[in-house]
Amino acid sequence: MDCRAVQRHAVQRHASDSGRSTDAMIDHGLLVQMLIGALLGISVYLPLMAGQLSLATPAFYAVGGTLAALLSTRWAALGASADGRFPLPSFLLEVLLGGVLAGLLALLVGRLVLRLQGIYLAIATIALVEIVRVAILNLPLAGGAIGIFAIPQPFANAAGYLLPALALLALAAWSCQRLESMPLGRAMAAIRADELAARCMGIDTTATKLSAFVLSAVLAGSTGALAAHFLNTWNARQGSFDVSITTLAFVILGGSRSWLGPVMGGLLLTALPELLRPVGDVRLVLFGLVILLGPVLFPQGLITPALLERIGGFGRQEAQG
């Protein structure tokens, strides 16, 4: 599976880092990966706040990642620096551009697909993911199945990525929290509770759903740009159907009533295959079992509304009937 390749790669990367690392117990690469998982979880959660099951996150993640990989390897002006390291401003610019490009694509596609409802929307977005994957695979610039290699590094080791990933996650979580008390967030909650009633109350449901979709895409695109540098290599398989389901699992297992749910789900489920590494090849079977049994044992996810109530409404979405 694709996540295996990512993890294997990340492990190789910091196998070479460990010499420089001060604390060998802390696996910085894994931490960054977990943060990327949490970011993608929030990206799936955002349309869900408006009741829309979109699985398009990997498509936007792939678009952002491919853009960053292409810009940093093909555009010499971005990489010019005295110390031979990829300049930080260029890296940040790519993270921004990845989000913008993904957002524009979402604006274009969202108008069309958001007319669909429920499972039809989910399947249309899977179709989008597959179309984007094959398009990137056939893009002559993007290196086909092998992909783009040697993406330049703005940091000396994996630990350097912790700060930008954390900052992006904090920004995303803060925005979700802010949304709850903003007209847009309330409109999203109203649509989730009852789309028809929301429309009757005068909420522009199309614009609201589109906003949620675009926000989700921007976050996924920026995350992709960050991930492309972190992983050092990028190919079309980074955004595939598997990722659609894995990221949905982040939200379902974490809990879909607050942004805290997808963050917890993303952190835990990204770490899990890595923590299971000692059991060897059986770990993917065990990972499947967790996905199979998780929703049966925790139908509301780990972060349940009751739990949120107890910790003081922190990160809680508007109570729903």
Partner: protein, 310 residues
Amino acid sequence: MDVLLQTLLNGAAAGGVYALVALGYTLVFSVLGVINFAQGALFSLGGYLTYLLMGGHISVSGGLPGWGLPIALPFAAALLLAAAGAALLSLLVERLAFAPLRRRNAEPLLSLITSLGAGLVLVNLLQLLMGAEGYAFPAGSLAGLPAVVSLGGARIRSVQVLLLLICAAVVLLLTLWLEGSRGGRALRAVAEDPTTARLLGIDSDAMVRLAFLLSGALAGLGGGLVGVSVSLPGPYFGIGYGLKGLTVLVLGGLGSVPGAIAGGLLMGLAEAMVPSGASGWRDALAFAILFVVLLLRPTGLLGRRLVEKV
């Protein structure tokens, strides 16, 4: 002309397999209103079971290198047994991934995740047992059948004809059964309205199990047929067919049997028409067609229009 005939037949054969997978989804969707993502894994299972039942051995990278069943069945028997095996496993998937959620009236969304989890477990168990690389069926698997037949000047692989015929027969039988038999009508009654069906004395839980049993058998058949006509490229190969089947399902309209058949044929033929120069794009074609169709007709080609009720 020969090339056209060949292309059409290839497309129809592929389309027949897509239709089998889509019909499997349709059966489950019509009674439960959910999609069983384990379908692709059952497809893989069907292929590998057929291989083993025909006397195939596990390769060196598998969990039991060199091991094989002590029997070597002819293709027809192996295919039927493999379909039965996939059907039984499909029942197990229902028991583990769907029944507990249904008992608790959980969100239908959850079963997307649980069924995919079941599929992941199955595919990775297959990978542990059989290894990651592909298997080809031994030459002469279809004893007594010439490899190539000549039809109106076109040379056609006979296995493609066989595949098309089997798919057509299965689809026909299933349709007749659904339309005419008592069990088929009971199944359709549950699909129409589970509560009323229960009041009429139909055991709707048994019908749900029947739907899973049949859909598993369809997936198993599809896997065995693709295995013998092409090869088994690795345990994940069913997932790709599962996804294509999903697009066919939506293309034809969720829950529509004629839609699944028409959608499958359309998809297979469209893929076969892709010129070899653009074969890299072939995998996107199915999804591109789906995308366009959904935008023009949001409930699929032959689906019912949904009326929103207040």
